[in-house]
Symmetry: C2
Subunit: 138 residues, 2 copies
DNA sequence: TATATTTTGCAACGCTGTTGCATTGTATTA
DNA sequence: TAATACAATGCAACAGCGTTGCAAAATATA
């Protein structure tokens, strides 16, 4: 696991620092997506807010994590699959946010459906966010 | 037009105030969705920020407008169809946000597709946000 | 180990959204 | 229309998110 973390950083030409290792570790252990808030708390106030912001930015640019738009307007982040790299994301799965526990899931096996738009619109991205209750909160 | 505004407010048991009339008017004339920022500027600094926030909240609760989640994490608002009332929204259409001009469209005639989820998830809402270029920005 | 390059922490800032409370405006009834 | 009850507004203050500039610290390179 520790080696996976270092490999991932090296593969993306990132220097190995404490904050990057720790934040990447949090994502690898996380069940759902993480918000900045979660990371700040789960890392035990070890790093500055700004460092966390910058690390998340870097990870998004490198294709290590992707952002998830949510209805409550708070950005969440989750690990990408292997085919995302260097700013070219290919995350075409549906996201689910539980109204009860707030957990945000990447439904990797549910692909976003094709939606045809009126003439004149050119689509480059489609986000599907579903909400309701998850299996733990029935 | 002016009568439409007053009627709408009365129908929703809202008292007739300058800010409500003005903000509702802005929505009726708007081509796309409006953010708080847009309203604050288009109303000519006539009303306090807080009043605008509270008016938007009230309109959402009454089913006059609905919120649109966007990938850039800024809430936008747009008029509801007639069948939304008193906190019961039935907005099941797709939204499109232009990367070029920022305009957010309600595609009222494009309904959100059915997406079946794995067992355990109970869905109450589905949001589809598409982005790319609109007809004005080809 | 010495040097060049990156990353970090801190301070400061602007923006968004919320709350409490006194003042003002609207609706109601006589 | 005027008096009253009630609701909405403006103001001040606050908390949270996200960004930037810069000096100090950590990392990579040789
Ligand atoms: Mn995802
Ligand atoms: Mn809409
Ligand atoms: Zn849940
Ligand atoms: Zn456009």
């Amino acid at each position: 696991m520790h080696q996976t973390i270092i490999d991932t950083l090296k593969r993306n030409q990132l220097s190995i620092t404490d904050s990057r290792k720790k934040i990447l570790e949090l994502f690898l252990h996380a069940k759902g997506a993480l918000a900045h808030f979660d990371i700040e708390h789960q890392s035990g106030a070890e790093f500055d807010r700004v460092t966390i912001y910058r690390t998340l930015q870097t990870f998004v640019e490198k294709g290590i994590i992707h952002t998830i738009p949510t209805a409550d307007n708070s950005i969440r982040y989750a690990l990408c699959k292997d085919d995302c790299a260097n700013g070219h994301h290919h995350d075409d799965h549906v996201h689910f946010m539980c109204d009860s526990c707030g957990t945000t899931y990447c439904l990797d096996h549910v692909t976003v459906p094709q939606v045809s738009l009126p003439n004149g619109f050119t689509v480059t991205q489609t986000d599907v966010i579903m909400s309701g209750k998850c299996m733990k909160c029935v």
